[in-house]
Point group: C2
Chain length 267, copies 2
C-alpha cells in the first residue's frame, strides 16, 4: 500500500509539473496579445495539492508576464464560506503561525444563485484586495435557458434580475464598476440589454471559439470603451496548433487575431 501511495502521489506531482510548464509556455507565447489569464480552477484541483501548487505557479507566471489573473471558480456560498473563498483567491488568512497569502488573483468569478448577501461578501473581499469580481449573469452554455432565462411574474427574466443586483453592488472607479458580469458570447442578442442594465460593468465574454461565439457580434459589450469587455478564449488559443503550426506561435497568432477583432469593435 505504501508503494502504491507513493506511486499515485508521484503521478500527481509529475502531472502537475507538466501542467504548470504547459501553462507557462502558453503564457509566454500569448502574453503580448492578452491582458489576463483565466485559470479554470477545477483543472488544477483534480490534481490535488500538487495541482493547487501548479495553479499558484501559473498565477505567478502570469504576473511575471504582466498579465492580470482571473481565478475562474464560479464560487458562491453563505457569508462565512464566501469570505473564506475571498481569502483563498484574493486575500489572506490570519493564522497563529503568520498570515497565509491566497492566490493573489486580480479578480474571480462568482455564482449569484444564493443571492445578494453572498455576492456582497465576495465583492467586499475583492474590494479590500483592490481586486474585482465577475458575477455569472447570462452564461454561454445551452443550459442557460433552464434557470437564467426563466420569465418572471414581475416582468423580465432571471438574468435581468441578476444584472440589476450586479449593478447595485458595484462601485464605480474611473468610469467602470469594480463588479463585472460574465456574459456568454454565444447569445450576443442579449448584450445590448445587459449593457443597458449594467452600464459600467466590465463584461467577461466567454464562448468565443470552441463554443461558437463570434467576436464581431459583441460590439455592445465595448460601448463604454476597450476596457469594458474581456473576450476569453481557452481551447481556441491553447489548441490552435491543431490547425497547423507549432503550439507557441499558433497560440500567439490566434490571440492576436482575436485582439485585433475586439479592438476594431471598440475603436
Amino acid at each position: 500500500v505504501a508503494s502504491e501511495a507513493v506511486g499515485a502521489s508521484g503521478a500527481a506531482e509529475r502531472a502537475a509539473a507538466a501542467v504548470a510548464a504547459h501553462c507557462r509556455a502558453v503564457i509566454d507565447a500569448a502574453a503580448e496579445a492578452c491582458v489576463a489569464v483565466k485559470p479554470q480552477l477545477a483543472c488544477f484541483e483534480r490534481l490535488g495539492a500538487p495541482g493547487w501548487r501548479a495553479l499558484a505557479e501559473t498565477c505567478d507566471a502570469a504576473r511575471e508576464a504582466g498579465l492580470l489573473v482571473l481565478a475562474d471558480g464560479k464560487r458562491g456560498d453563505i457569508d462565512v464560506s464566501a469570505a473564506a473563498y475571498g481569502q483563498a483567491l484574493v486575500g489572506s488568512t490570519a493564522t497563529p503561525f503568520g498570515d497565509v497569502e491566497g492566490l493573489g488573483a486580480d479578480a474571480f468569478t462568482a455564482n449569484p444563485y444564493m443571492g445578494a448577501d453572498t455576492l456582497g461578501v465576495m465583492a467586499n473581499a475583492a474590494r479590500s484586495a483592490g481586486a474585482g469580481l465577475f458575477v455569472l449573469v447570462r452564461t454561454s452554455n445551452p443550459g442557460a435557458a433552464d434557470i437564467e432565462d426563466l420569465a418572471l411574474a414581475g416582468g423580465g427574466v432571471v438574468w435581468e434580475r441578476v444584472a440589476r443586483l450586479v449593478a447595485e453592488i458595484g462601485g464605480v472607479r474611473e468610469g467602470l464598476s469594480d463588479i463585472g458580469a460574465v456574459v456568454g458570447a454565444t447569445a450576443p442578442e442579449h448584450i445590448p440589454r445587459l449593457r443597458e442594465l449594467m452600464p459600467g460593468a466590465p463584461f467577461l465574454l466567454p464562448g468565443v471559439g470552441a463554443q461558437g461565439g463570434r467576436v464581431e457580434e459583441l460590439a455592445a459589450a465595448f460601448a463604454p470603451g476597450r476596457a469594458a469587455g474581456l473576450v476569453t478564449a481557452s481551447r481556441s488559443i491553447v489548441q490552435a496548433h491543431e490547425s497547423g503550426g507549432e503550439p507557441g506561435p499558433a497560440a500567439r497568432a490566434e490571440a492576436e487575431r482575436l485582439r485585433a477583432q475586439a479592438w476594431a469593435l471598440a475603436s
Copy 2:
C-alpha cells in the same frame, strides 16, 4: 525574498497541519453520532496546496471513522469544467504518468444556476463513481429570497423549477434518488412542497444551530425514511464547548442531541 517565501510557506504548512489535526479530533469525538462529514472546501483552499492536502487527510480520517464524505464546494460550470470538478471530487484523472485519484468523496454539492447540462455532467460523474450529488435548491441564507424565491411568469418560483430539474435527473436506487437537494433548515415552511416535488431525493439540511434552524421543524424531510434527511451542523458542533465542557465531549454531546431529535422525527 527567499527567506520570506519559506516563512510564508511554513505558516501555510503549519496551519494546515493544525487544521487537519483539529478535524481529526472532531471526527473522532463525534463520529459515532454522525453519518457523514461535510468539509467546506474554501476553508481548506485558503491555505493553498497544504490546505488541499489537509482536506485529503480529513477525508481519509472520516473514512477511517466509518463516515461518508460530502465535499461541500457548491460547484457549477460548463460541461468540460463540470467534468473536471467531478474528477477532482469523486473521480480520477488520467495522466501520462498514471491515474491521479481525486478526493474520493461520497457526494458533493452543486449549484444549479447554469442549468441542466451542467448538473447532468456532475450527476454522471457522481453516478460513475457510485457517489451522489446534492444540488442547491432552497438555501438557508437570507439572500435566498433574491433569486431562489422569485415568482415565475408560468407559476411557481425559481426553487420549484430547480426542484423539478433535480427530480428529473435523479435515478432511484433502493427507494431514494442518487441526486439530492440542499434545503435550508431555516425555512421549514417550504419543506413539504420540496418533498412533494422531489419525493425520492435525500435532503441535505444545513442551517440548524448557528443559523437558527430547528431540527423539530424538519419532519417533512424525513417522510420517506431516516435516510432521506441529513441534518448538517458545523459551528454548533465544533464550537459546542464554548457553552461549557471540553471540546471533544461537547462536540459529541451536541451531535448526539441532534441525532436523537432527528431520529425521533423519522420514527
